[in-house]
Structures are given as C-alpha cells and as structure tokens.
Amino acid sequence: MKRKKSFEDVDGELSNGDAPSPGPMSDTVDVEMHDAVDGTPSKKRSSINGRTHKSLTPSLDSTGAISASRQVEENGSTPKSNTPAKKISRELARLQWESEGVKTSKARVEDTLVEDEEEDYMDELSAPDQVGTPSKRTPMRPGSASRGQGIGTTPSKSTVRKNLFSTPTKTNGIGKGTPTSTPKFHPTADRSARRKTTKSLIERTILGNTSDNEEDEASLLQDIYGSDEENDIVGGDVPGTVSEAVEAIATPSKRGRGRPPGSKSKPREPSPLPQNLGPAELYFAQNRGKVQTSNNTLTSLSLLDHEEYFSLIRKHDDPHIKDINFLQDTHAGSFNQWQFELNQDFNICIYGWGSKRELLSKFANHLYNTFDDPEKNKIVVVNGYVPTLTVKDVLNTVAAAVADRGQKLGSQPAEMLETLVGLLERDPSQHVTLMINSIDGSPLRRPSTQTVLARLASHPQISLIASADHPSFPLLWDTSLRSTYNFLFHDCTTFQPYAVEVDVVDEVNELLGRSGRRVGGKEGISFVLKSLPENAKNLFRVLVAEQLIGMSEDDDMEDDDNDKRMGNQEVGVEYRVLYNKAAEEFICSNEMNFRTLLKEFHDHQMIESRKDALGTEILSVPFRKEELETILEDIS
C-alpha cells in the first residue's frame, strides 16, 4: 500500500508541473517528455501529444488507468506542495530554452528509427547537457515509474511509430504481473531509462553478440522498451567501445533506483569525461558528485565454486604462455647476478606483476646446483601467502636447517632469534639462503614480524631473497628496517597467474559480499544445523528472522531516503537484542550458554560479528535477503 501511495505522489507532482503553467508552458512539458523518452523532441509531435495521450489512456491496464485518472484528479486539485512545482517549472523553463536550441538540429523528421537513434546518440555525445537535463526530472520511486511512463511517454512514441502501439500494455503487463518476484524490474522502467535502453538495445543488436546472459539482459531491456523494435533496426555502424557499452547498460537503471523528484535536487549526471585527463584530474572527475551505476545484480549469473573454477582454469590454456615463459627466462638470465649480489651481503627483493614463485624456485634450483657443499649451504623456502604461517615457523625451519632437529629455540620470536643467532655463530661456515615468497603476505605484515625477519636477514650468514606482490609493499618498512634489510630491488614482471598465492574463489566471494558461500551455501548451513542441537537451530532461526526484519525495514527506509541507505551498513542484529530474544524463547538461560551456541556458528563461519561505530556488537548471517528467506523456510 505504501508503495502505491508513492506512485500517486509522483504522478501528482508530475501533473503539478503541468497544472500551474497554462498555455505555452504545457507545450514545453510535452517537449520535455519527448526528450525524456527518446531525446527527439519535435514541435510537430508535441502539438498532437495531448490528444494521443487521452486517447491512449483507456488502452492501459487497470492500474495504469487508475493512476491516470488519479492524475486527472490531481490536475484539478491544488498542488500538494509548492516547492517541487516551482522547481519543476523552473526546470521546464530551462528545458524549453534548451530544446529550442536542439530543435533546429532535430527538426528533420526521422525517416527510419535507426537514423533517429543514431543522431540522438551523437547528440548526446556532442551535447552533454542533453543527457544531463532529463535526469533532473526523471528519477522516481521504484515502481511508480512504470506507470508514469505508461501514461506520460508511451503515447508520444506511438504517434511517430505506429508499430509501437502495443507498447504500453506490454510494459505495464510486466510491471503488474511480476511485482513481487522481480521487484528490480520496476525501477528500471523509467522514462529516460527507456531512451538509454533503446540505445543500448541498438548497440547490442548491431554489435550482434548476444551471449547467454546478455540475452537475459536484452530481454529485460526489451521488456522495458516493450517492443520488437529490433526488426526495425537495420545494421549500421554505431560508434561505441565497450566502455561505452557498459555505460549504456549502466545508465538505464541508474534512474530506476531514484528518489522522488523534488525531495532533493539530484546532481547532474556527469558529462562524459574528456580524454587524457591527468591522474589527479581523473580522480576528481570520477569522484565528483554521486556515482551512478546500474542496478544490475549477479542473480542471473550462477557463480563458480572451487571445483568448477579449478576445472575450468585447468582447461584454459593461456595464449601467452610462450611469451610468459620467455619473460621468465629473461629474468632467469640474471640468476648469476643475483647470486653475486647475495654473496656481497645484499639481500634481494623482487617485485612486479605476476607470480614470482616459480622464478624463485628456479633460482633455488640454480643456487643448489652451484653450492660446493649442500650440507653447509641450506635453502629455506617460506611461503608468505600461506595463511597459517607464523614467524616462529620461519625461525624454527631456519634452526632446523642449521642444527640438528629438536633444538629448542624458546617461545618468544625475539628470544628465538637470539638463540638462532647463537646457533649460527657456532659454525661460521654455515650459510642459509632464506627465500620468502610474498614477504608482504598478510601473515607476515605485522611490524614485529618484519622486525624479526629484518634482523634475521641482516645476519651475515643469512641471505634473503624475497618476492613482494602488493604495489605498496615498501610501506611495510621504515628507514631503519629498510637499512637493516639492505635490499636490492629487481623488477621481475612475470605475468604468471597467482595460482597458489590467491584463493580466487574465496576472494571473489568476499568481494561480492557472498562470504557465506564459504560454508557451502544454504546447503552447507542446513547440513551444519542438522548436526546441532535443537536449541542452536532455534537460535539460528531467530537470528535469521531478526535479520530479515531488519532488512525489510531497511528496504522501507530506502524508499524514504536514499542517502540514509548509502550510509547504512549491512544489516545485522545487535548482540544484546538477540540474547534477549533467545532468552524470551527459552533457547538459552544464560549468557554463557548463548555464547557457546554462537561459538558453534562462528566456527562454521555461518555468522559474522562486527562492532558498529558505537562499539555494540552486531551479528549477521552473511547471506542475501532471498537466500535468507529460503534458509528460514528450510529450518522452520
């Protein structure tokens, strides 16, 4: 119900714009609307607009009709609030001026749709204002747009293109038919969205590549556009690189998730960025205003799990493998030099794009083959990317390399280091080459660890050769550490994939906010829950339910204020609240009990906990709303 009301608001506001401005003003409104639809305003069309509008209304479905009649009512009544109306009329005045300017260029009546659209496209490129203008007005509340569009815009289309007469019903049909299952479609149906959509549709068709999921998208776009327009489009060369295509895809729904016009003036859509900006300018250009992106989500894409990923990656053969090997060999050519440098009490750090693990292991092999006495020269390899690595492991392994096993070093790293140095000095002919893959790996990033490593590396009997992957790795070391390390740096760009260093699937899941997939998804959760006692199941149910409530509240808030949502963090349930709930439902009697239950969830990574700005602990289940719903169904 709430939603419905908002639709009316929009309609009201829209018509408010019309109402107080009689005469030429109403004419401009029509122009503007055209503009919003397909960017081809023309006097001729606008003059007949009013008529077609009315005549078409009855052909709309019931909801559309209702809102249309509402609109008529609103037209008669006084504007609900003054400010939006004023704003709109101001906006309109400006628009009128602008459209006058464009008119001349647009006055030619289009022969075919393609030409029309092409020109439109070009215009948009050449005159950024054109793009910017409609966006001022267009944003609407989700859902409402579809109706507004059905009324305000489709007719005008039909006046020009007879074959599009069926459009409005189709659009609305979809809008009405699937309001709950695909709520996301609503926002996308927006007037200017339509314009953008047309554009991307054309580009898409002309470029002629529709992969599976692109087809999904295409059908979605067609739904928005609501026609079999494709047939009308004859092939042509639409200029556009991929990035533009992305933008084109990105733009339509940009509006969809908008807010009611007038609640806050929306910043202009950034004009297309000029080329060849300096880095700093580019930064500011890209951060100016609110960034607008599309509302597309990955729901249509089935994500990869570890198994599939690995089987796919294994199948994939890199077309560059020859070049990459050549690059590797080039670096291998300086092994001798590295050895000399290590020999001269320098340590080496290699950096650059690509995994350097293989290169280092080749170097290890090279070193090993040149050692006079492998008993006195040991190579210790440390894989800094292994998450369980600790500095104690490093020290213990070095100790094992220089002395018999079972040598006890101590418990504290600093203490261990002392003992180790003592061990080393016992036999000055001993030499250890320490080879650290990813010295900037997360397990080794702590300053205390780096201090220990540096002091180890500065020992004359130890040579260190390390690889670093992160672009900002030198920040790990201050001048003191840096001079202790005594590094020589070599650029070793290998272009080798980080096959071992990066856990691709986990990383991507985390990036996409789907860390819940780590547990094995919903199935994993229910599997774990099966093995847990009834109480735990109940607790989890309460948690999920609470979180869902939180989420739906959040959704409502979205309607009211976009900004609030932006600032809002992921939803979760406060620890205290959850405990109280659990106590109410007799799931647990005391906090100890409660903690134990939570611990179980933590262990299985089924819940996440974090502290908010005030320091209260917030618990959440790392799944998205839809998934949570199904989980809830499963367990209750």
Binding site: S243, Q286, F346, Y368, N369, T479, S483
Partner: protein
C-alpha cells in the same frame, strides 16, 4: 567426469606450494627422476665453481675467457676491500670518539644520554658498537633494549634479565637453575630482578649497563616504570642506564613522570651527525686521489640527493657505493684494464682479441682517433686501429695520464680552497671541477676577486697558506706534498711574497699605507651637480709609486693562480669508460623501486612485456590487464555485473558457446581476485553487487 577431474587435479599439484616453510631440496619441487640428472650436471659445475670461486658471467658475447673473468672478479674484490677498509676506518674513527666519551664518565655517572640525531637507521650500528666496546671495557653485562621488544613492562624486564644472565654462553643450564632459585628456595619468576641480583653477586659484576636504543619509541609509562624500578634496585644491582635520544634531552624529560626524572642523573653525549660522516666518506672514497673507481657527476648528484632528501644514512650510502663497484666489474669486460696500473703483465696475459675489439668500439676511442686526424697524424691513428700492441701502449699511457690529471685537479682544488677562507674541497666543488663547469659557476672568479682586493698583509698570509698547502699535501684527499713537482710555482710564489714584504717595510718607513688599485679604498665616488641633476661617477684615487708596485705584484700572483687553476678535466679522455662509472639507472632501479608504477604499467601496457598482437584485438590481452583497463575507465563505484558483461563481451568476441563463457567467467574471477590482492577494489556496501574503487592510476 568427476573422476577425471580428480586425477587431473593431482597432476601438477605441488605439495610444497601450500606448505608454510620448508628446506629446499631439488626433489621438493622437481620430479624425483630428474634428481639424478641434476646431480650429475651439478658435479661438473662444482669444478667450475671451485676454480673461479664465484661466477661472474663471461661477457663479450660470452667469448670472454675464463681468466679474464677471474681477473675482473679479483679486481673487484681488491678494489672494494680497499675502499671498504677506508670507509671502516672513517666510521670507526667517528664512533671511536663517541665511544670513548661515553665509556669514561660511566664510571661515576649512572645515566648517559646519547643524542644520536634523527637518523634512526644508524642507531643500530652505533649501539652495537657501543655495547661491543663496553663489554670489552667493563666487567658486567650489557643489555640493549629496543622498543620492538618492549610491548609492556613485564616483557621488558624479562628480556632485560634474560639478556643479562645469558651473556656468557658457556655457562648455561646448571647455573640458570641455581639463579632461578630464590633465597628461600622458591622458584623465581622470569621477570624478577632478584634473578639478576643473584647473577651479579655470583659474577661479581661491577656494573650492569642497560642501553635503551630508541627511547622515543618506548611507551612513556613503561619507561617511567622501568626507570623507577631500576632505581630502587640500585643499592643491590649497579645499574647504568644509556638512552639513545633522537630529538633532545628536554623532550625526553618531558615524557617522564617527575618521580622518574628525579631518579635519572647523568651526562649528555653528542654523536657525530651522519651528514658530516658521509661527507668525510665521500671525500675519502670518491674524491680522493686513491679512489679506485671514479663516479660520474650524474650518479654522484643523484646519490647525494637521495642521501640528503630521503635516507640520511651512512649505510645506505655505502651500499650504493658498493653496488656501483659491483656493477662496474660485473658488467664491464674492459674493467680488466684497471688492473694494469698494479700488474700490467698479468693483465696482458688475459687480454684477448675481443678486448681490443671492444676497446676500439668505445666512443672515447673514436674521439681519440678524430683528434689524431685533426692533429694530422693519420699514421698513428691507423696504427691504433690496426696494431693491438700499439693500442695497449696507448691505453697504458692514457691510464697514467688519467691518474695525473685527476691529481692535478685535486691539487688545484686544494690550492683553491686554501687560498680562500670559506672554501673547502667538497663534493660539489669536485664535481664542478671534474665536469669542467667550475668556471661557469664563478667559484674561481670569486676567489680571485677576493685576493685582488686584499691588502698586503692578508695577501702575504694567503700566499703562505698556499705554499704550506703544497708543502704539506692533504691526507684526506690522498695528496702527498708536491712542492718538488711544483717547484716553479712555489718559487715564484715565494718571490712575490718576499717582494711584498720588502714593499711593506719600505712603506712602513715612509709611513704610507699600501693598496692595490683593485682595493675598495681606491675607488672614490664623486657626486657632481650639473643643472640640478646629480651625477655619480667612480674615480680611481691616485696611486702612489708603492701602490703601483704592489698592484703589479698582485697582478703577477693572479696570473700565476689563474694558470694553476686551469684544469683540464679528463672525463672525456680516451678510456674514460673504463675508470669512470656514471650510470644512474641501475642505482635508481635497485635502491628506489617504483613497484606501483611497474605494476600499473604491466597491467595497462602488457604489450610492452608480451606479444598481444597474436590474436584479434581484445582477448589477446591477459585477463587481468583487460579487466584493469575497464577498471580504470570506471567511476569510484563499480557494478560487478556490468563489469562482467563488458568483460565477457570483450573476451569472447568471436564464436562462443556456453562452455566458453564459463571459462571466461573463471578468468574473470581470477582477474577480479588479482585486482583485489593488489588492493584496488573492495566490497562495497553501498549497493548490492558493487565494488569500491580504491586506486587511481598514476596517483
């Protein structure tokens, strides 16, 4: 299918990949079968390794013979060891003073503040030396505490006690047992100072020195606690505290509580600042006449810039110097010629045709030939081009003249410096002289003008200084006295001196002052008023006969000095490539890496590294590079789905089916994970399935 997947997953699986640490053996990453083969080949290499100790690569397209390689290596060792020992001498000398200063008063002062200056990089070295020195001087343990070990008070105490009691390595467990028992037989906790007390009484230590290396980095509360506690034990354990202070003692005081301040009583010691040490090292090993390898001005200026602006550390400077030596001998096959001045015969033995060939290809050789042709000596030029022996001769001559001309430069500079009170031979002056820009910079003109304006007495003193400079030489610059070589110069100097003295005596009798015409008093400013306008004009006062005579003496001196200061820089002479090292790029690349730039470049221009033209346009780029390109074009918020559609669109521009798309998705995953590991994107909570952009290229 899954069975296939299973088996194939084991192929290429390397057990060591996910092992945190291991000791490398060839088998651990290669197949075991390979091992035997490798061992076989390594046995052959062993002999090589033994013979030539280390492994310089044969240069000259790999044609360089082994002996020559060996000579280069030995030359490097020798030259660098020489230089290194010189540097060590300077460093020890510099710290020696501090050490002596610090050590002595510790007999009666319980606390020392060692003000090291802001260079924390060299603090470590200093404190190592200090504790080494102190251990040899006093009877008792010396403990150095660093802020890194001192997370809390307990940890500091533990460390202090452990280090102090473990100092003598030969006495271990049994005594440790004995120490850890208190008076009543109970076991003592590891942070109980009673332990240390037992140790001290057992060994009869006179003092326990606790040096706190980076006092600024310590937590103030920990430091306060430590000071008060140690103070309260002073009646039983003879503690002496040493604080390393980078800022100032006042600031240090402010950080302590009043109670702790009252416990601290001591003396302040200043350490010689890095910059002055660097200057001395520089003078010794780069400027001085015994410098084995000359560094060019470009390299030196970037070295000094980094030194002053960024690192300020002697070690970094030495490392850079060492690396220059390493580069020169490792990569320049003609470096063998440097050995000629010591042992020409040995060098002659290893020379081969390719060496001469390379010598003739030097730019400086071409210059030399051009010079010869201009001087109308085509025969000699032809000989140089054809006859190896002649070339060798020429090379030896040129090596000798090089030494001479460098020495001449240094002598001239030394004289120049001694003829002015403000000037000293420093890096900048030397580089100016070396590159020949000393005239442009006006240094010489300034000095000469100053001399011109001098009165007779200062002039006499200046001449005296110059003569002394020549007679004494300069040890730091490696200049021996050269008065016999410059006999003419010295003699005419002395003549002028004598005449000046005579003149002064005569003038004294006549009771008139002597001035040259250049002196300021001889210039008179006249104001004339003509037609209500003021005219200023300079006018020379009239010169007395004494003055005229004095002026002529000054002119003679100036002439003499001018000639002496005419320096011919050898930097473009024949063979300069051999004794002059002036490449900035290895130094820059190796010591000041730009990892971010490198990674951005690799990703944005992969064609610079690998061939991306093999296929049609887009998919020829590596996946990550492609994604990075899109990433750059995006705003600060990125929709993953749109990114993916653009990516898949680019990757599969030609025929594609469902399978292919999944593979593309896998690549997309990899590329995305790569971007994440580079810290370029993170999950955004602003919108579903969006990423936040974190890095902008080139910023």
């Amino acid at each position: 299918m899954s069975v296939d997947g299973e088996t194939s997953s084991h192929v290429g699986f390397d057990a060591t990949e996910h092992q945190a640490t291991y000791i490398y053996t060839p088998g651990s990453s290669d197949r075991p079968q390979k091992r035997r083969k490798l061992n076989g080949s390594s046995a052959v290499e062993h002999d090589d390794a033994l013979r030539s100790k280390i492994n310089f690569v044969p240069l000259l397209n790999g044609l360089e013979n082994e002996k020559s390689v060996h000579v280069r290596r030995e030359l490097y060792d020798k030259f660098w060891l020489d230089t290194e020992s010189q540097i060590e001498g300077i460093l020890n000398e510099a710290n020696e003073r501090t050490l002596a200063e610090v050590t002595e008063p510790l007999d009666y002062v319980p606390t020392g503040f060692v003000v090291t200056g802001p260079n924390i990089a060299s603090q470590g070295l200093l404190f190592n030396q200090l504790s080494g020195h102190l251990i040899s001087q006093i009877n008792g343990p010396v403990v150095t505490l660093r802020s890194g070990d001192a997370s809390n008070f307990k940890a500091v105490l533990k460390r202090l006690i452990r280090d102090a009691t473990n100092q003598s390595p030969n006495e271990e467990d049994e005594e440790g047992e004995g120490l850890s028992l208190g008076q009543k037989g109970r076991k003592l906790l590891p942070y109980d100072l009673e332990l240390l007390h037992n140790y001290v009484t057992l060994h009869g230590s006179e003092r326990v020195i606790v040096s706190i290396q980076d006092s600024e980095a310590f937590d103030g509360a920990v430091l306060t606690d430590l000071i008060t506690l140690l103070h309260s034990w002073r009646d039983r354990i003879p503690f002496v505290l040493l604080f390393g202070i980078a800022t100032s003692v006042d600031l240090f005081h402010d950080r302590l509580s009043r109670r702790a301040t009252r416990c601290v009583f001591g003396a302040q010691f200043d350490v010689e600042q890095t910059s002055s040490i660097v200057e001395r090292v520089f003078t010794k090993v780069v400027i001085s006449a015994d410098a084995r390898l000359r560094l060019g001005s470009a390299l030196v200026s970037s070295l000094m810039e980094r030194q002053y602006d960024h690192v300020q550390s002697v070690q970094a400077f030495i490392a850079a110097l060492k690396y220059s030596y390493m580069c020169h001998f490792y990569a320049n096959p003609l470096a063998v010629f440097l050995g000629m001045s010591d042992d020409p015969k040995a060098v002659r033995k290893v020379l081969q045709d390719e060496h001469f060939e390379a010598l003739r290809n030097l730019p400086s050789f071409r210059l030399r030939i051009q010079d010869l042709l201009e001087q109308n000596e085509p025969d000699y030029a032809r000989k140089l081009l054809e006859d190896d022996e002649k070339l060798l001769e020429e090379a030896m001559v040129s090596m000798n003249t090089r030494d001479h001309s460098i020495r001449d430069i240094l002598r001239a500079l030394h004289v120049l410096a001694s003829s002015s009170k403000v000037l000293s031979v420093n890096v900048q002056l030397f580089m100016e002289a070396f590159t020949g820009s000393i005239y442009d910079s006006g240094t010489i003109t300034k000095v000469i003008n100053a001399i011109k304006r001098m009165g007779p007495e200062p002039l006499r003193e200046t001449m005296q200084r110059i003569i002394e400079a020549i007679q004494e030489g300069n040890k730091e610059l490696g200049l021996d006295p050269w008065d016999d070589e410059a006999a003419d110069f010295v003699q005419s100097m002395k003549d002028i001196q004598v005449q000046t003295e005579k003149l002064v005596e005569e003038a004294d009798e006549a009771n008139v002052p002597i001035r040259s015409k250049y002196s300021a008093q001889h210039k008179v400013l006249r104001t004339t008023v003509i037609a209500q306008k003021v005219q200023l004009s300079h006018d020379s006062a009239k010169l007395s006969p004494h003055d005229v005579e004095f002026t002529s003496l000054v002119d003679r001196l100036i002439e003499l000095l001018r000639n002496y200061f005419t320096i011919i820089s050898p930097q473009n002479d024949f063979m300069n490539e051999i004794w002059l090292y002036d490449y900035r790029s290895p130094y820059r690349d190796v010591f000041t890496p730009r990892p971010r730039f490198v990674i951005e470049r690799a990703l944005s221009a992969p064609h610079e590294y690998i061939d991306t033209s093999i296929e049609e346009l887009s998919s020829a780029k590596p996946a990550t590079a492609l994604l990075y390109e899109m990433y750059l074009e995006n705003g600060s918020l990125i929709n993953v789905f749109d990114l993916w559609s653009a990516f898949s669109h680019q990757m599969s521009s030609d025929d594609d089916d469902g399978n292919n798309e999944r593979e593309t998705l896998a690549l997309f995953y990899r590329a995305l994970a790569d971007l994440k590991s580079l810290g370029m994107v993170k999950h955004s909570k602003k919108k579903t399935d969006h990423l936040a952009k974190l890095a902008w290229k080139g910023l």
